[in-house]
Symmetry: C2
Subunit: 210 residues, 2 copies
């Protein structure tokens, strides 16, 4: 009876997450359907429900893996704490912007997977080195995560927009109604985005360790 199943143990949460990550690399976030993930894993769509309760759970696993893969290596090592944090910020930004749509996924699922846990711990290590401990440390590390992930998600959203339309919108800002915004738009165009991103991070860290 060929094609007829039975307990085959071909599948696992790991295999499913791998398949999803592969699809994300190739086709972006909108390629991440349960049916396509299942097909990539060589299995019927509903087989995924043995390992995950629903699609959101699969996405959470993918997000956790992405965060761990890009953030955690940069935070490990014995460089000074500020260098580690900056290196992590650059790595996680590059890693997430590489997959279109990954940044938006990060903001729509809670960061509670095992890799995210390690991420938080490494960030707390760095802050402790900076002299931030006790109750403030928890709030400070959360603020850093918020800034990083928010900045990456907003940049990805902007990136996804039609560049022509974006330029037109920037040029069409009526300076008589929005004088400061019009001036800002001209200024912002001269910076690159990593520079802005790190500038904001440094200001936040300044406020946190002051």
């Amino acid at each position: 009876m060929p094609g007829r199943p039975g307990p085959r143990r071909t599948l696992s949460a790991e295999v499913i997450t791998d398949a999803a990550l592969g699809l994300l690399d190739d086709g972006g976030a909108e390629a991440l359907s349960m049916r396509r993930i299942a097909a990539a894993a060589g299995v019927a769509p509903n087989a995924l429900y043995t390992y995950f309760p629903d699609k959101a759970a699969v996405l959470r696993a993918v997000v956790d893996r992405l965060v761990g893969r890009h953030a955690n290596p940069a935070l490990t090592g014995d460089a000074p704490w500020r260098d580690r944090v900056r290196a992590m910020a650059v790595a996680v930004r590059a890693g997430l912007l590489a997959h279109p749509g990954a940044a938006a996924m990060i903001m729509s699922a809670p960061l509670d997977g095992p890799e995210a846990l390690r991420f938080g711990e490494l960030l707390l290590d760095a802050l402790a080195e900076a002299g931030v401990t006790g109750p403030d440390a928890a709030r400070a590390s959360y603020a850093v995560m918020v800034y990083l992930l928010g900045a990456i998600a907003l940049e990805a959203a902007d990136q996804g927009a039609d560049p022509g339309a974006r330029r037109a919108a920037a040029a069409a800002i009526p300076a008589e109604h929005f004088p400061r915004t019009a001036a800002s738009a001209a200024v912002i165009a001269t910076y690159n985005t990593v520079e802005q991103y790190l500038w904001g991070l440094d200001r936040l860290v300044d406020g946190l360790v002051r």
Copy 2:
């Protein structure tokens, strides 16, 4: 020939956005399908495509309205700049958390609508009052937006998670592997979320105007 159309001018981008906002209030973000929005507006699904190129454009219009409605009134007035910024932060948080899913939408579309433009201008006004002008003002206002929207989106994502599972995950943090995280989780549970949110905002603003 009853039910047969012709140019009726019953529809407009405004009417569509209103219908979408109504659905968002009632049913959350997953109620926002083109077919349901059309039904709420009393029209066939494809009629929406006369006014918006695709679903993403409709969502952008919704997001712009939400931001404008909640952020801009609080930034208008003659209170000291820091009070205006804090009041705006509280208002936009409450306004977005009130619609489940609205926060995630904000992070997945560029903030380039008319209301968002006004939002940016009002924020730049406040920062100018704080003495932040020139090239730094643009980067500073962007950093503030990133923090606010990122914090709200992450809080909404956490809120959306199953509370039982969340508590279980927090309690299950192995202190021998993640000592600082385990200690933090205990601390964080004693704060309310608005307090944490404003604490981070204040630290960022400290770094920006220092």
